[in-house]
């Protein structure tokens, strides 16, 4: 076979591969992507990006089937709801928080990840006022680095549903073709697909071991004990970082957003809001890298929420006080100990909210 034919074959093969990757990455129902990835989290994991020898931790196998619920119109049969991302059922292989909570309170839990939309979007398919007085509780979890989003919550995003009719199919197709998130989806696929994740992991690991280069997601590492911290939390240029000041005006805006949501949930859907901000890993353990001053944002937020009568769970104090690490060393998510501490606090908060 001459050079021309060989290269032409290679070009065609690459084209077909590219089309396949694009199809999987742009799959509107995400099911194909889920089936082919080694992660279920939207970000991919720090751990996945760099698997370092000193950090390698044997993870327990995931327990039980997922409790993910995102079927529209079924909220009426539940009394306990969770929305957020750190509660994801398959999160890092530990006992799913949602299952533990369900077991502790002896009731089913409705979970839907609708962030960064308004938590009231959970009930978008219910008529307001139809479920008053049912003693419902909505636990809203948010990582500390994203809490400021409550200052300006986004409107409800559509829950993915099968298209109906030619027009809807055409609209869906148009949306999928030109949605702005193609690059993010392709990047996620590259980092997390079963085909490429081992290669990416090996590449990034060798980059770090040989040259000390960490990928952009994880630019900071403490040596002893060995911990990785994500750029999201450590880069002073990013609004999500530990270094971003949360002044009183911002705290008030966040509290305003939560107060509005709490009021909507109570009056329209008979539900009590419990807000659970999760302290960032760098907030808790920045001392391993540098002893930089923290602006006490979470305690000030708790105080403001308490003043307005909004239920919240203080995880900052128990996490800070814990002698045992609450995070995986190479991950942005809690470990089993973090889950246990949070579970204890949330169970008590739900029971208290119901008593009132």
């Amino acid at each position: 076979m001459d050079k021309n034919r060989r290269l032409l074959l290679a070009v065609r093969a690459l084209g077909i591969l590219g089309a396949a990757v694009l199809f999987v990455a742009k799959d509107p129902y995400v099911s194909l992507m889920e089936a082919l990835t080694v992660h279920d989290t939207v970000y991919g994991d720090t751990y996945r990006d760099v698997k370092l020898t000193p950090f390698r931790i044997r993870l327990p196998d995931p327990v039980g089937p997922p409790l993910l619920q995102s079927v529209p119109g079924t909220t009426a049969s539940y009394r306990l709801f969770i929305t957020g991302d750190s509660y994801l059922p398959e999160n890092r292989g530990h006992e799913p928080f949602v299952r533990l909570l369900s077991t502790a309170l002896r009731e089913p839990v409705f979970f839907a990840s609708i962030t960064p939309s308004d938590p009231a979007c959970l009930f978008r398919d219910e008529a307001p006022g139809s479920e008053a007085g049912r003693g419902r509780v909505v636990v809203v979890e948010r990582a500390e680095r994203y809490v400021s989003q409550f200052a300006a919550m986004q409107p409800c995003r559509p829950i993915v549903a099968p298209p109906q009719g030619a027009r809807l199919v055409a609209e869906k197709l148009f949306q999928q073709l030109f949605e702005q998130d193609t690059e993010e989806r392709l990047r996620y696929f590259l980092l997390n697909s079963v085909f490429t994740a081992p290669l990416v992991e090996a590449w990034n690991t060798q980059l770090y071991l040989r040259f000390g280069i960490l990928p952009d997601l994880s630019p900071v590492v403490s040596k002893d004990p060995p911990y990785l911290f994500a750029r999201l939390e450590t880069d002073p240029a990013l609004a999500t970082s530990f270094y971003t000041a949360h002044d009183d005006a911002l705290i008030a805006k966040i509290a305003d957003g939560l107060e509005r949501t709490a009021r909507t949930l109570r009056t329209d859907y008979g539900a009590e809001l419990i807000f659970v901000p999760i302290p960032n890993k760098f907030t808790l353990y920045h001392g391993l890298v540098r002893n930089d001053r923290y602006d006490d944002y979470l305690p000030r937020l708790y105080k403001e929420l308490g003043r307005r009568g909004i239920h919240y769970v203080d995880l900052y104090r128990p996490f800070m006080a814990s002698k045992e690490s609450v995070y995986w060393p190479t991950d942005t998510h809690w470990n089993g100990h973090g889950v246990a501490l949070a579970l204890d606090a949330v169970v008590r908060a739900v029971q208290d909210a119901r008593k009132r």
Partner: protein, 479 residues
């Protein structure tokens, strides 16, 4: 979509494979669909603007060719007004309105018009100029009007050069879509190598330098002269690598599809004077202004005063083309002034060269001229990069306040990164030096396969190792 993105890599691999799999008579449709998709990924509805301009210019071209006298001219004017009008509306309305507001407020009057909340369609400045060159060339009789709407649409929308050039001429580009391009190993691989070089310049050099430049120029008051000088030098290379990198990717991508685009850069920082710089920098734009503005104004075939006026106006307009800000006008004015000064002092400079004996040392003289020209251009880049005239003035004052210079610190780039940036620039300029006599890709063709493999693998690895992949768009996309 950006060239430096996974989306483009996937898109391009699909388009390239499909291009050489469909029959030649369907290729224009494929290119048209691909180009529409490429553009619509930015903001889908803005494709309607291009469709409107395509229809207007296509029709105008046919009517110009089929008419005579006043009607011909009228059709040309319609085309120019449509294109310039679109450009003025989207790009300059708010700038003009803000200046009108400022002027009226000086007279204690209020401006009833408010700023428009619209996004500039990406690449508007480029494809409108390309469209205008078509109707002008048809009017001048240098180009036959295109009868096939599809081919004309591909001429305007051709994705490699749609959003940031090179700004092509119809004589060069239009007929190529009719010629069947057979898959050729040498041509395709050469195109891919050119794209590789473009990616190197963009993600290894330009996107690395942007961290420091953005940090310093976003707050010039917080930096001393040495930091501002360093940022200015880095910006000179950032904008070159960014824009020439884009052009290389565009030209390389087109080449793989069998389409030849014009060269847009020719080692501009090796120019011996500013006039030569403009023959080597953004060649497609400078020749556009030369052919359609400078020469119609009279060019240099007039008296000296008028010649200088023609030059100055051309560069003012060129500055304005780059953006709706007084800083771009200032940048254009600086370059116009350079050229006028060069004209006015030509004899004097020749005398100085004779007196200093530089004339008898041509290599030394050339080195001196390149050094001076680079610094003149770098000085002008201050106005181009600064956010405002006052920022530009501040930067200049601090750079020339040598007494206040301190060692650079806190520039957003660690020492290792700065060393890497300098080494990459040195490597790039070394390649440019080698290319004085012959294109380096052609030089490599004669080398053994092992050497070629090493070079290409090294380039790919350096992009993977040292590339910055945090999605910085190309500077010239904003124009």
């Amino acid at each position: 979509m950006l060239f430096n993105s996974l989306h483009f890599l996937v898109f391009f691999s699909i388009v390239l494979a499909a291009y050489y799999s469909v029959a030649h008579r369907f290729r224009w449709m494929l290119l048209l669909l691909a180009s529409c998709y490429f553009y619509m990924v930015f903001i889908p509805k803005y494709i309607l603007i291009l469709f409107a301009l395509i229809l207007i210019d296509y029709t105008a071209g046919l009517l110009i060719e089929g008419s005579a006298g006043t009607r011909r001219r009228t059709m040309l004017v319609v085309s120019l007004v449509a294109n310039i009008g679109m450009l003025a509306f989207y790009k300059y309305f708010n700038f003009l309105n803000d200046n009108l507001t400022a002027l009226l407020s000086m007279l204690h009057l209020a401006n009833p018009a408010t700023d428009l909340n619209i996004l500039l369609p990406i690449g508007l400045s480029f494809h409108t100029f390309q469209s205008m060159s078509y109707t002008i060339e048809v009017y001048r009789g240098n180009q036959r009007a295109e009868r096939h709407l599809g081919f004309y649409a591909v001429y305007v929308l051709f994705f490699p050069q749609l959003v940031a050039g090179p700004i092509e001429r119809p004589q060069n580009l239009l007929h190529q879509f009719r010629q069947e391009a057979f898959f050729d190993y040498a041509r395709v691989t050469d195109g891919l190598k050119l794209m590789l070089w473009g990616f190197f310049k963009k993600v290894v050099i330009a996107d690395r330098l942007t961290v420091l430049v953005d940090r310093v120029y976003s707050a010039p008051g917080a930096h001393n002269g040495s930091e501002l000088a360093l940022a200015t030098y880095f910006f000179a290379f950032q904008i070159y690598c960014d824009f020439s990198g884009y052009s290389d990717i565009a030209i390389g991508a087109a080449q793989t599809l069998g389409i030849g685009l014009m060269n847009n850069f020719n080692r501009p920082y090796f120019s011996k004077n500013v006039s030569e710089f403009w023959k080597r920098w953004h060649i497609s734009l400078s020749t556009w202004f030369k052919d359609y503005l400078y020469i119609p104004l009279g060019g240099n075939r007039t008296g000296r005063a008028r010649w200088c006026f023609n030059l100055f106006v051309t560069f003012l307009v060129s500055g304005l083309w780059h953006g709706a800000n007084w800083t771009y006008l200032l940048w254009g004015a600086i370059h116009g002034s350079y050229l006028i000064f060069a004209i006015a002092t030509r004899d004097f400079r020749e005398r100085i060269a004779r007196w200093t004996r530089l004339e008898s040392h041509p290599e030394l003289r050339k080195l001196f001229q390149v050094f001076v020209t680079f610094h003149l251009v770098a000085f002008a880049w201050i106005a181009f990069r600064a956010r405002s005239i006052s920022d530009a003035v501040l930067v200049v004052r601090r750079i020339f306040d040598f007494a206040a210079w301190r060692a650079p610190a806190d520039l957003g780039l660690g020492r290792g990164e700065i060393v890497l940036a300098l080494a990459s620039i040195a490597f790039m300029e070394a390649v440019h030096l080698l290319e004085r006599r012959r294109n380096i890709r052609h030089m490599l063709k004669d080398k053994p396969a092992a050497v070629r493999g090493l070079v290409y693998a090294g380039m790919i690895l350096s992009i993977l190792f040292f590339g910055k992949f945090t999605s910085h768009s190309f500077i010239y996309f904003q124009f």
